[in-house]
């Protein structure tokens, strides 16, 4: 582990969620330490994305507590939660298709552009400066993911993999303390994954916390400091990649016998 | 030189059945006058525009006639509703506007350039109601009217006052708005209130549906109508539905006066159809204007001539299809100078076999 004595950034305690009679999560608890990469894996339908939805306020838990930096997130609206410093990407990519890439990323900076209606109307110097800075920062973020040369292309025209990268840049634009990634490398080939892996490592090294869901074991095991495994809505294992990898329950439920 | 006169009439839309008759009346009169050599040698040239029975179109058409075509005066529009919107335009442009079918109260309040030879509802309805009451021995009546049209609304106000004056109780008062086709809920309510007659301040489009649907619901009592009922077409729809309806009008097709006989004859000859009140009033209106123009020396400057016509018109009298006609100065509510109303007495009709028949008291 890189940072053993870091305080916990996110803590999830005894969280449960049901849709009608369907219990999707039961008594889920784990902690995401700051400055680390935390993984959440588990079979399809285990409830991983649901955990993200609960954290980001799109769903409210039926039971339990979710704290971020010691403060409860329960009942906060999604934009407030983003404000607290949590950003995410989506499993089913949700970029703004009719906007160009630059605008997509600049939407992510919304919270950090503080000019008022007055400055806006009269195009005050402060307003101009803020916009200019945002634009530069957006281009920088785009170049991180290798999309700066497509900055004025409509997002809709990107290929699937590129859309994922764009979503990643957009999430970073909110300047999060914790980045939630829902299957960030789905649809990328191994080389591209390697590049993204470095990218995520860099992010962590800049002090961000990363919490990701991913099915690519090479990626998860190579990147995460700790991993939780969810099966049928319950945590069945938690620990370092090696612990998890060799846990028979995890092999049985998720990894399968044969190796790659 | 030709004398350009504008006519704004509802030639399409719901009020077209009036507007077309009105246009026919004007064309007939213009032909006659021109055939006799015109007015002091000047031929009349009609500029006819369709105002569709709509306020906005009324305004547009008036502006076009007054400012583009530079007509000497404007006849129309067909409906009071449109007159309230378009009349002020003409009045402000100091141009005579002459209504031939607008019967609502308050029209001539618009200003001194506003004239009409149509007889106000308040002059007609008391007679209609009294006659019908006496004939049918009415004890109580139901009322239905359109509440978003200046004419039907004003007609209702007059009816209401007349019914009060004549001490005829009202069982229920129902309303509708322009364009409605379903009157069943209102009529069912009327039926439930058991009136001896239904008083109806409606334009023809709705009136026809109301009468048909009333019969469909088993309402058997007669109707009493206002000026909107004066279209014979209304009673061609279903012989049974309109039977026994009472309605008043300043014109009678059977009036034996020579002026009227000549009018009816030449109208039938030209259009191969029976004339109606609206054609007769339009026909007369042009003759009234012609009478006034006889006295005016046209200068060729349109503004001067318009003013001269306005000053000459009030004195004009004729003996026309609707009988002897003269103007009467309007009494305005505001006390400001108003325009000129018609001074005429109505005839009362009853509908028999789908036709208007003059009611002879028996």
């Amino acid at each position: 582990m890189n940072a053993p004595q870091q305080p916990n950034l996110l803590s999830i305690r005894n969280v449960g969620k049901h849709f009608g009679g369907l219990h999707v999560l039961q008594d889920v608890s784990f902690e995401v330490p700051a400055g680390s990469i935390y993984g959440l894996i588990g079979p399809n339908g285990a409830g991983k994305t649901t955990v993200f939805n609960l954290i980001t306020g799109l769903l409210t838990p039926s039971a339990g507590q979710i704290d971020f930096q010691g403060q409860s997130l329960i009942g906060l609206e999604p934009h407030r939660i983003t404000h607290q410093g949590i950003a995410r990407t989506f499993q089913n990519i949700r970029i703004f298709k009719e906007m160009d890439l630059l605008e997509n990323v600049m939407v992510g900076m919304h919270d950090h552009l503080d000019y008022g209606g007055f400055g806006l109307f009269f195009n005050s110097p402060a307003c101009r400066a803020a916009e200019k800075k945002a634009r530069e920062r957006a281009l920088e973020l785009l170049s991180w993911v290798g999309l700066d040369h497509k900055a004025d292309m409509l997002a809709d025209n990107l290929s699937y993999g590129d859309q994922r990268k764009l979503e990643f840049a957009r999430a970073l634009a909110t300047e999060p303390k914790l980045l939630l990634l829902d299957e960030p490398v789905a649809g990328m080939n191994p080389s591209e994954k390697t590049i993204l892996m470095e990218e995520i490592n860099n992010i962590r090294n800049r002090g961000y916390g990363v919490f990701m869901i991913e099915h690519d074991m090479r990626f998860v095991m190579g990147l995460c400091d700790r991993i939780a495994v969810l099966n049928f809505g319950r945590i069945i294992a938690e620990g370092t990649p090696d612990e998890v990898r060799n846990n028979p329950d995890v092999i049985e439920a998720y990894l399968g016998k044969e190796d790659e | 030189a030709d004398i350009k006169i504008g006519v704004a009439a509802a030639l399409t839309g719901g009020a077209a059945q009036y507007g077309v008759s009105i246009r026919n009346g004007f064309q007939l009169a213009a032909e006659e006058i021109n055939a006799k050599g015109g007015i002091n040698g000047n031929k009349i040239q009609l500029v006819i525009e369709d105002e569709q029975g709509k306020k906005e179109e009324g305004i547009n058409v008036f502006k076009k006639l007054i400012f583009q075509d530079k007509v000497l005066m404007v006849f129309g529009p067909t409906l009071s509703n449109s007159m309230f919107a378009a009349g002020p335009v003409a009045n402000a442009a100091k141009t005579v506007v002459f209504g031939t079918s607008v019967t609502a109260n308050g029209i001539t309040d618009i200003g001194p350039y506003v004239f009409r030879n149509s007889v106000m509802e308040s002059d007609v309805l008391p007679v209609t109601v009294a006659t019908a009451t006496k004939h049918y021995k009415l004890k109580k009546v139901a009322v239905i009217y359109g509440n978003d049209d200046a004419f039907t609304k004003s007609g209702y106000d007059v009816f209401k006052k007349v019914l009060e004056d004549q001490k005829l109780p009202v069982t229920t008062t129902e309303t509708y708005v322009k364009g409605d086709v379903d009157f069943k809920a209102q009529l069912t309510k009327i039926k439930g209130s058991n009136p001896d007659a239904v008083v109806c301040s409606c334009l023809a489009e709705e009136a026809a549906n109301i009468m048909l649907q009333a019969r469909g619901l088993g309402i058997k009592v007669p109707f009493i109508g206002g000026n909107g009922f004066n279209s014979p077409k209304l009673f061609e729809i279903s012989k049974l539905a309109g039977e026994g309806t009472f309605v008043g009008s300043p014109w009678s097709n059977t009036n034996p006066a020579p002026a009227n006989k000549a009018f009816v004859a030449s109208y039938v000859k030209k259009y191969n159809a029976e004339p109606n009140q609206f054609a007769a009033q339009a026909f007369d209106a042009l003759h009234v204007a012609a009478a006034a123009l006889q006295e005016v020396k046209l200068s060729g400057d349109v503004n001067t001539d318009r003013e001269a016509l306005k000053n000459a018109l009030p004195k004009a009298t004729i003996n026309g299809a609707t009988g002897p006609f003269k103007f009467r100065a309007a009494v305005t509510k505001t006390g400001k100078p108003g325009g000129w109303d018609a001074d005429q007495k109505p005839f009362i009709y009853v509908v028999k076999g789908g036709k208007f028949t003059a009611f002879d008291g028996k």
Partner: protein
Amino acid sequence: MSVLLRVHDLAVAYGHIEAVKGLDFHLNEGEITALVGANGAGKSTTLLALSGLIKASRGKIEFQGEDISRLPAHQIVERGLVQVAEGRAILTTLTVEENLQLGAYTRQDKEGIPASMEEVYQLFPRLKERAQQFAGNLSGGEQQMLAIGRALMAKPKLLLLDEPSMGLAPIVVQEIFRILVEINRRGLTILLVEQNVRQALKIAKHGYVIETGKIVLADSGANLLANPKVEEAYLGG
């Protein structure tokens, strides 16, 4: 080995941009063929063109000897060329079972449908549990299973798969590759687009590598796996 599908000089453009620039390749009957390439190389575009969802701007697509490049999409499916598209395209407002039934829309042998349904349920027991639920409420992986199951319901002659393993748990990925091998052994021809390049080439008889709209390599699956260029570009060194 007879050729089931032959593509000649296929080009596809989005507006003024040509995404696929003249591909030549063919699929042998009864084989699995893999198509690999980086993001944006034009793989999905190629598959959509084969299915008739985008019209090719030039080129010829021969399926069982017939030129299908001008056929409307539904007739292509009727001929047995079925695709599991990228992004799954499942019908979220229909139930899982209804989705499967619609998979058999073009099938003539209506009496065989219940049996196929049972087969699909056997391959993906999870779907059976969720049969009466709206497909929109399935998890991502479950939706992918449904999409594959639904395609199988059509009893295709040629199955086009656009990244079928995307978003699936490792155990399911193994399962899916096993199933692909299995259905292929029963005689189904498969064209597989995968980012999971290693696994794909492992089960593929032949493979094509596509870069910015052009085929740059064509070889047997095994050879491609061993090819250092492929190793470097697509297997992550």
